[in-house]
Amino acid sequence: MAIPIDERSLIDECVHGDRRAQKMLYERYCNEMMFVCYRYISERETAKEVLSEGFLNCYRSIGQFSYQGEGSFNAWLKRIVVNQCLMHLRKKPGPLVVDISESASDIAVDENILGRLSAKEILDLIHRLPPGYRSVFNLYFFEDKKLVEIASLLEVSENTVKSQLRKAKLLLQKQIKELYG
């Protein structure tokens, strides 16, 4: 049987448990999803394991996915992978985000320098952030989540999220200045 190339058909085949379709879907998204995992988890091998778990969850619950145009699967898969990363971080001893309330003021990250950096360099900068700051930063800048949503996901107050985000930006700005300024 010929393997369908378009995403929708591929997903339909995956719903029926077609291994080849599952493999094709994996090959199509594994690199991008690895970037997602690696943004949250700085240990590469652990990030790979979390990626596997994310894809497993995806295949097990793909029947619940409803295709809503291009990019909808990517967003759905990314949500699964991000949740997997957060679940992994929660398992680690100690709170993911330390609950501290501070007034948040806007910190400017140098966009010009950031624009010149490669994905790998940005990833390295993100890895330098503590896990709590990193999670908030990723959820806010990459997953485009609102502060309320992040607070709900991480089970902390909105003020804490604001404070963590502010500190994350502050640290990032400092690192950019130190390394590339």
């Binding site: 599952q22 493999k23 594994c30 690199n31 690895m34 790979k48 295949y59 490669s118 994905a119 940005i122």
Partner: protein, 209 residues
């Protein structure tokens, strides 16, 4: 400002310029996923087999039990006779009465010595030299009669073993023509007949009245 950063990051990571996993790593990871995808099914099959086998075994044992069950013996039911306990007598409330103080009188070297235990209630007691009132707080009030009688023989204070007693000042009761003195006994009086100067002076005071 944040939106600009978001845009930059999105552009950078949507189509990353590098690959984080090599082809072999991707393949290894896929095999891992594939293995895990296949394993639950197998596990379910083995689980089903195990359950079916155990259910079959149970049915078999039950069937054998039905076939080889001996005729049932008449069942004997033991009925335990109800134990009748005798009715409990009603509990009477008896208020506790304090034990009366014990007064010991001893002869010692020709003198009579009285030792009093710790006294908590007011009580009149007979002494060899007359009547004395044993009051609360271990105090003894000696009446005038006691004094006059005692003066003929031995002083009252001497009789009451003042080695172990505090003597309160003598108080005269003009109306009743009685002289009171208060003697406070220690808890465990040591009996004796010796008199100190203080005891003597009190005894003298008593004589004068």
């Amino acid at each position: 400002m944040d939106n600009d950063i978001k845009k930059i990051l999105k552009d950078k990571f949507e189509h990353p310029d590098i690959e984080l996993m090599s082809a072999s790593e991707q393949a290894d990871n896929w095999h891992q996923i594939e293995r895990k995808l296949s394993s639950p099914k197998k596990r379910i099959i083995w689980w089903q087999i195990a359950v079916a086998a155990s259910v079959g075994l149970l049915i078999g044992i039950a069937g054998m039990g039905v076939l080889y069950t001996p005729s049932p013996k008449p069942s004997v039911t033991y009925i335990k006779a109800p134990v009748q306990l005798p009715p409990k007598p009603p509990v009477e409330y008896v208020p506790a009465t304090p034990a009366p103080p014990v007064i010991v009188v001893k002869e010692n070297n020709g003198h009579r010595v009285i030792s009093l235990p710790t006294i908590t209630t007011t009580k009149t007691c007979d002494t060899p030299s007359g009547k004395g009132n044993v009051a609360e707080n271990n105090k003894v009030i000696v009446s005038r009669d006691t004094v006059s009688l005692a003066s003929k023989d031995v002083p009252v204070v001497h009789l009451l073993d003042l080695n172990n007693a505090d003597i309160m000042p003598v108080v005269r009761d003009y109306k009743r023509e009685r002289v009171h003195t208060t003697i406070t006994f220690f808890q465990n009086p040591v009996q004796g007949t010796g008199r100190s100067d203080e005891q003597s002076s009190i005894a003298q005071g008593l004589y004068k009245k």
